[in-house]
Symmetry: C2
Subunit: 320 residues, 2 copies
């Protein structure tokens, strides 16, 4: 049993992870600044004796160092995950991802904490010519400030592994769906349909291919690796071995909600500048370790729609 | 004719570039904080009417914005280039490379300056399994904080090209030699031999393979690309198509100085943690544009030894 610090522990993935770690008998220190994390997501575990909640920011270096007390492994999930509007606030990814991650690594180093698990993104592959994209795909070109900042974090983590004897595991995700999800197209579509069940407006031509992974499958994979950390540093793609189009997804959402809206598409291959028209990852590496995602994309979309339907309060707290 | 802002314009490569740009009829704004740059390096052009010197820091965002006035292209050469001692001050690469580069890109964006040339490093390839290493080598793992910070800069530049319509050219160098050089093994060896011509102590086993490029050859390649900038973003390796061992280099240095010291090696394959045992770049891409380096590694080492002999004052101003 260990003590796990989870940055962004009250966020989408973090708030699904914390209960899993507690169930496994670990102690959990949840570190979150509640910029996008939700107190309601951790309400059900707040009184667990093995759970500690720290309302802290990764830019607060002193708070970070004091949070490291007794920690064995850091799960670094906190991030500015607002890919789409990165161009409107170009310093945000630098500060909340790159600088924040450096602060975290430094707090770990001065505290003697040397194991880190990091949630990166499949968008670091840019517009890869190799589909499905393996971890050792050709040196990519970054197409978004978000992915550029995640790449910067990956680079720092690997340099800390080389230079300071850290052990690091980096996970490059496709988009994640499931309970707690409040960001991305399923959220946007359900939100639209709540205010107007007759019409649905979508960016791009609707034929953008996307691959999604259910949040519990994602956590299964990360737990598998965290139980036996890499000797130094390793990278794993996470995703399902299929994809859907935005039109497929719209169909599943509408069926689940029992709606038949008129569809309008903005046209074009990309939803927005920097939107990758096709992220589909080769996950052979993690699959060779006997990880298999249990939910299909369709099931993951449906679970997400159900979550949003049952938790309409999230539409009040998030811009989407 | 254009106006070129050269960050690090009083540094090693920058101080060789500025006169070349002036000779070609351009206006030059040299932006340097003189942390490693030398006023003596730009003394001979300081009174040129087309040359403007700004004593400014890349962390000073206001100064950077005012420096952009009338600028057409930015040559971003300023950096913390202290690869070897990165582990002793782990925030330096983040601040002086990653954050500094972000500040520069932001100053460009708000000023409407959209063309940038960036000096990256071949060490972003980490310990590549592909030798010689092409630009599209497999997605690398970073082994130094320096390379990680350069990778972060590359990522931000490409994201600015994608998101804000910038044009960017990134050059991944092997180590550069020539007039103005004050950093690395030739400097260290000449410095040692000045204080003790009888003994020479070297890190590693001396069989580390290294590839070097003469500074004027490096500038030739960058000028070739800057005359016709990429449509969006492109990356070019720069180096010669041969390599030497540290022992070769020691032989050339000693011959040039007329010395026969006793050699002592610390042993091991790497000079220091994060030192890449073998950086050898595939430069086919830039060669296909009719660039050929004129000087061999041996000639470049000899020119560097001559520079250091003629400018012994640099040993007083630099730690090496």
């Amino acid at each position: 049993m260990g003590t796990y610090l989870v940055t962004g522990g009250a966020g989408f993935i973090g708030s699904n992870l914390c209960p899993r770690l507690l169930e496994a008998g670990h102690k959990v220190v949840c570190y979150d600044n509640f910029s996008t994390g939700q107190r309601r997501y951790v309400d059900h575990i707040i009184h667990n004796a093995n759970f500690k909640l720290i309302d802290g920011d990764l830019l607060d270096r002193e708070s970070l160092v004091s949070a490291m007390d007794g920690v064995d492994i850091v799960w670094h999930l906190a991030a500015n995950a607002d890919v789409r509007f990165g161009l409107e606030h170009p310093r945000k990814d630098l500060e909340q991802n790159t600088i924040a991650t450096h602060n975290l690594l430094e707090a770990m180093r001065v505290s003697g904490v040397k194991q880190v698990i990091f949630s990166s993104t499949g968008s670091v592959y840019g517009e890869s010519q190799v589909i499905p994209t393996p971890e050792d795909a050709p040196f990519p070109v970054q197409t978004s400030l978000y992915a550029a900042s995640k790449l910067a974090c990956e680079g720092m983590i690997s340099a800390y592994c080389e230079g300071y004897g850290f052990k690091g595991a980096v996970f490059r995700f496709v988009s994640i769906l499931g309970e707690g999800y409040t960001h991305g197209h399923v959220f946007d579509f359900v939100k639209q349909l709540r205010s107007d069940p007759e019409n649905l407006y979508a960016l791009g031509d609707g034929y953008q291919k996307k691959s999604y992974l259910y949040v519990q499958d994602c956590i299964d994979a990360m737990l598998l690796i965290s139980d036996k950390m890499p000797k130094k540093f390793d990278v794993y793609n996470l995703g399902v071995d299929s994809y859907c189009t935005v039109r497929d997804s719209i169909g599943w959402i509408c069926d689940r909600l029992g709606l038949k809206p008129k569809l309008k598409f903005s046209g074009g291959k990309r939803g927005w500048v920097g939107d990758s028209p096709y992220i589909f990852l080769d996950t052979g590496k993690i699959r060779s370790l006997n990880w298999i995602p249990e939910l299909s994309i369709k099931k993951a979309v449906e679970k997400t729609v159900d979550f949003l339907t049952d938790n309409a309060w999230v539409f009040e707290t998030r811009e989407g």
